[in-house]
């Protein structure tokens, strides 16, 4: 384990940024946001970024392929846009977002592998930061995530005036070597104390006790036909806010844009809350907002664990709790679905 004084953190950032792209969370008009590092930037102290870190591996809009049409030659040229991604480092990812990558990996790295996602995943180095100040909207403990000890290529802990670094992977070793050059080696003790402190705080959070086991015990059809769906969805606007800020939502739509010279085929995030989600020639198979609303929560709490050895499709980051215009969210649904007792 290596430690670095907080005052030297920017030297460390500069050393990385000199070689590859570095993203750190900074305070902006829309809350904390990951931005490319520039000299003099100050890292945000916010508990988490407004948008999740999935954007770096699964961006909202991504061009897949271009078609160039030549009317004179009557030809169509197909241009593959895929290039090897540049190496990049993303600093300050929280435990919940780190856990979300495991969920995204299950979707995108299982056969058939999504080469666009894999490309970025292979070239990204993730430096996580343990939480020091959890918020009331955090409920990662419900999914067995330890906010004080996130995974990632490198794990960092901000304890007092020091930042502690620990490499977890080979990619991480190289990065920590850069810290070692300007920092000093450190004992584990302060970090262990810090972890214990965070765990104590996590234990006091108000919404950590959602009864997921009760939902699981009930079985798919019983959850699907639960009367709560008739009630909960009523004031859902059908906007896509919850899905777009969610670190685990992975649905996308493939669309085409006609340019003046051809066609760009791109994919963009889709939302199960939208009326044209999974639109087919006969129309949409979820015709009412109730069904769309149910889909989102059933997917995260029932379908995904059913198909993935019990791993839930939610990591408890709390972004939907903060962003939903009408304050409908997964915690309220899970509590209703899990029952009061």
């Amino acid at each position: 384990m290596v430690k670095l004084n907080v005052s030297k953190l920017n030297d460390f950032f500069a050393a990385i940024a000199a070689e590859e792209k570095l993203y750190i969370p900074v305070d902006s008009a829309d809350g904390a946001a990951f931005r490319p590092y520039e000299a003099g930037m100050e890292m945000s102290k916010a508990c988490n970024s407004t948008r999740s870190a999935k954007d770096f591996f699964f961006p909202q809009v991504e061009n897949l392929v271009n078609f160039k049409v030549d009317h004179n030659k009557k030809s169509i040229e197909i241009i593959d846009n895929r290039t090897e991604a540049e190496d990049f480092v993303i600093f300050g990812v929280r435990a919940c977002d780190m856990a979300s990558f495991e969920i995204l990996d299950r979707v995108y790295l299982s056969d058939p592998v999504d080469s666009y996602y894999k490309n970025r995943r292979d070239h990204g180095v993730i430096v996580t930061a343990a939480c020091g100040r959890p918020q009331e909207t955090c409920f990662c403990t419900a999914f067995g995530i330890d906010a004080s000890n996130p995974a990632g290529d490198v794990t960092t802990w901000f304890v007092g005036d020091d930042v502690y670094f620990k490499a977890n992977t080979e990619k991480g070793e190289a990065l920590v070597a850069k810290v070692a050059a300007i920092g000093e080696s450190a004992e584990e003790k302060p970090v262990e104390d810090f972890k214990a402190g965070v765990k104590f705080m996590m234990g006091r959070l108000p919404i950590k006790d959602i009864k997921l086991d009760k939902i699981s015990a009930r079985g798919l059809m019983e959850n699907f036909n639960s009367p709560i769906w008739d009630d909960e969805f009523k004031t859902c606007l059908g906007c896509g806010t919850c899905t777009f800020v969610c670190p685990t939502c992975q649905c996308f739509d493939v669309r085409e844009f006609k340019t003046n010279e051809g066609v760009i085929r791109f994919r963009c995030w889709d939302s199960c809350m939208y009326s044209d989600f999974t639109q087919m020639s006969h129309g949409n198979n979820r015709v009412s907002q109730k069904e769309r609303f149910r889909q989102r929560f059933m997917h995260k709490l029932v379908y995904f664990p059913n198909n993935n050895e019990g791993i839930y499709g939610c990591v408890g980051c709390g972004r939907c709790l903060r962003s939903c215009p009408q304050s409908l969210n997964i915690v309220k649904v899970a509590k209703a679905l899990g029952g009061k007792d």
Partner: protein, 147 residues
């Protein structure tokens, strides 16, 4: 005089109402009046048909200036269409200005079927104005640019 290597020729989209301005354009043609060839005329049934989205889409697809020509107020074939268009365009142009988009890029001009001369003059003047402004960058869509 030195001629610039690449002279900028703006693309202008002119939406013309079927009853007055389109006939006005026709008249200016039969009278052999000249106006720049980079004015692309799109015929619409009435100036009131012009959805604000048409203007924005024209800019997206590469227009550097958009002009709407219709019957003089009071002379609308459908009696009142251009009065509505007048209000709409006023508000739309004001909004474009509010977003920092050059206000000279959009214009409304009333041209009757008898005003072939005015049509040609208007187009010459508008092309000159937009040429001075240069290429449209603030309302462009990079995907539609030539690669």
């Amino acid at each position: 005089m030195q001629v610039e290597e690449k002279e900028f020729k703006p693309t202008i989209v002119a939406f013309c109402c079927n009853w007055c301005s389109y006939a006005g354009a026709d008249l200016s043609g039969t009278n052999r009046l000249q106006y720049p060839a980079n004015v692309k005329i799109i015929r619409i049934p009435c100036s009131c048909r012009l959805n604000p989205m048409f203007i924005l889409r024209a800019f997206q697809r590469g227009a550097d200036g958009v002009i709407l020509c219709g019957c003089h107020p009071g002379d609308c074939h459908y009696t009142t269409g251009n009065y509505y268009a007048r209000r709409r365009m006023t508000l739309l142009f004001s909004m474009l200005d509010f977003l920092g988009i050059e206000k000279e890029r959009t214009r409304v001009e009333w041209v009757s079927a008898a005003e072939g001369q005015k049509f040609a003059e208007t187009m010459n003047d508008f092309v000159a104005t937009v040429t001075k402004l240069g290429e449209n960058h603030r309302l462009e869509d990079l995907r539609c640019k030539k690669q």
